[in-house]
Amino acid sequence: MSDDLRFGLNRKVSLPGPLALDGGGSLAPVEIAYETYGTLNADASNAILLCHALTGDQHVASNHPITGKPGWWTRMVGPGCPVDTDRFFVVCPNVIGSCMGSSGPESLAADGQPYAMRFPVITIRDMVRAQAMLLDHLGIGRLYAAVGGSMGGMQALTWAATYPTRVASAVVIASTARHSAQNIAFHEVGRQAIMADPNWRGGDYYHDGKTPDAGLAVARMAAHITYLSEQGLTEKFGRRLQDRQAKTFGFDADFQVESYLRHQGLTFTDRFDANSYLYITRAMDYFDLAEEHGGHLANAFRGAGTRFCLVSFDTDWLYPTSESKNIVHALNAAGAPVSFVELSAPFGHDSFLLDVPELNRVVDGFLKAGGQ
């Protein structure tokens, strides 16, 4: 298996497609960057698909090529971890629309120029259909589990709704079945910040290196606030000043929280493409699983053989517990086996990425119980 070039870190495949898109158009070829961990067993029954969040990528448990930092979910994925790479074969693809190697606005179109805003608007279901093409390529018929937090959870839900026979279980953490008005509103602030940057130029900025960093940084700053909790911000920063004894009566980053957010915004621009941010936030805003199934969320899961595990966090106000409960209600109505727990953690929405031992125990127990 190890000499099979389809498997390993930093993989990339160009699939001929075409991928028919929800928006009406199609994408061809479909490039997908991905990583795999562990070994696919003989009957391909131990595969877990890991779905990343808005600004995540395929480097779930390997060092990031740009930042050099460890993968985004090393506390969940690895030997002996809940997603145990000694036992499972893990696939983590970069979503289409992104900028880490999969087809996105930065990719070259047929005319040899970057798509930029000519890239078709995509949906969460389009991302999932592209992942299904990747699984076909890897020889995986049925997933042991699809696992994801936030936007990754939307993909895991969509997997169960779109390919009910191809996914035995789904782990959906800190997620939702539809974007609320508030979710859309925050994303629109981010998009407008990018588009207001004079360097954005209708998305046509790839040729001269002048990228809309200021706009993208503001988008990230605004979004980052929604990932944290008020309690978390207060505990971490309070009203403490940054490297100074007194207020400057100016507009420098006097407060630690300002300095922190500016740093978050700035470093984000090193690793993320502004147009990708537009496309992926749009895909999330369009997400409404009930709408895709005649307005009844339960219809999305009727007849599905998938087991579900949903987890929310008490301090997450971006995708609060009520959103998870909404999904649980629908799953109960559809008769699907479902586990759900609201865990207590101080980190807001970001809790799914951080040190919450109870989350690891829940995911571990759920996955060990099998994906029959």
Binding site: P337, V341, V362, A369
Partner: protein, 196 residues
């Protein structure tokens, strides 16, 4: 069966193999695990306490965090062969509405509860003049989760008023099954199997 609480052991014994069951207020999932492992029951649970839910899910059980008073309405009619409510009825805000839900969701319902008319409790109240604290009711009046104390006779008339059928009844003193004679005086716990 592993060491199940006596009322749960009765329920585990009576549930038919391969059935679908919902345990409302499933605690740490002991009954669910026994039903799943020894009777191949499609066993689901609902539990209010977050730590208990996490413990259940960590042992591979399908359990959701929820409240018997408010969240049972999500389940479709007759979606389970059995709805089980063990030692939880007396903790609900509206036991009458919870019972309606149990009999709507389940074709049959198991209900178990501590009997407040057992003679030791009567004795303690009559001669002590204070709310009884016994082995099966260890909490004090102000911190007890039991907000609707009920006796076997209360329960029987409650059932009769609603036209609910009793398909089975079991009475316990400690771990021992006892006869139905004067159960309201003698039994510490009761288990009823009900249907509409």
């Amino acid at each position: 069966m592993t060491l199940l609480r006596p009322d749960l052991a009765i329920i585990a014994r009576e549930v038919k193999a391969g059935a679908r069951a919902l345990d409302v207020g499933c605690g740490d999932g002991a009954l669910l695990a026994a039903l799943r492992d020894e009777k191949q029951v499609d066993a689901r649970g609902m539990e209010l306490n977050r730590d208990n839910v996490a413990a259940c899910v960590a042992r591979g059980l399908s359990v959701i965090q929820g409240n018997a008073d408010t969240d049972l309405s999500d389940y479709p009619d007759a979606s389970f062969d059995y709805a089980i409510l063990s030692q939880t009825l007396q903790t609900t805000a509206r036991p009458d509405l919870v019972l309606d839900q149990l009999l709507r969701i389940g074709r049959q319902a198991f209900v178990s509860f501590p009997n407040f008319a057992q003679w030791r409790i009567r004795w303690a109240l009559m001669f002590g003049g204070t709310m009884p604290i016994t082995k099966q009711l260890p909490d004090r009046w102000y911190d007890t989760p039991n907000i609707h104390h009920v006796t076997i006779d209360d329960f029987r008339s409650f059932i009769a008023e609603r036209g609910v059928r009793i398909d089975g009844q079991w009475f316990l003193r400690g771990e021992k099954l006892i006869s139905a004679g004067a159960a309201n005086l003698r039994a510490q716990h009761a288990v009823f199997l009900l249907s509409r």
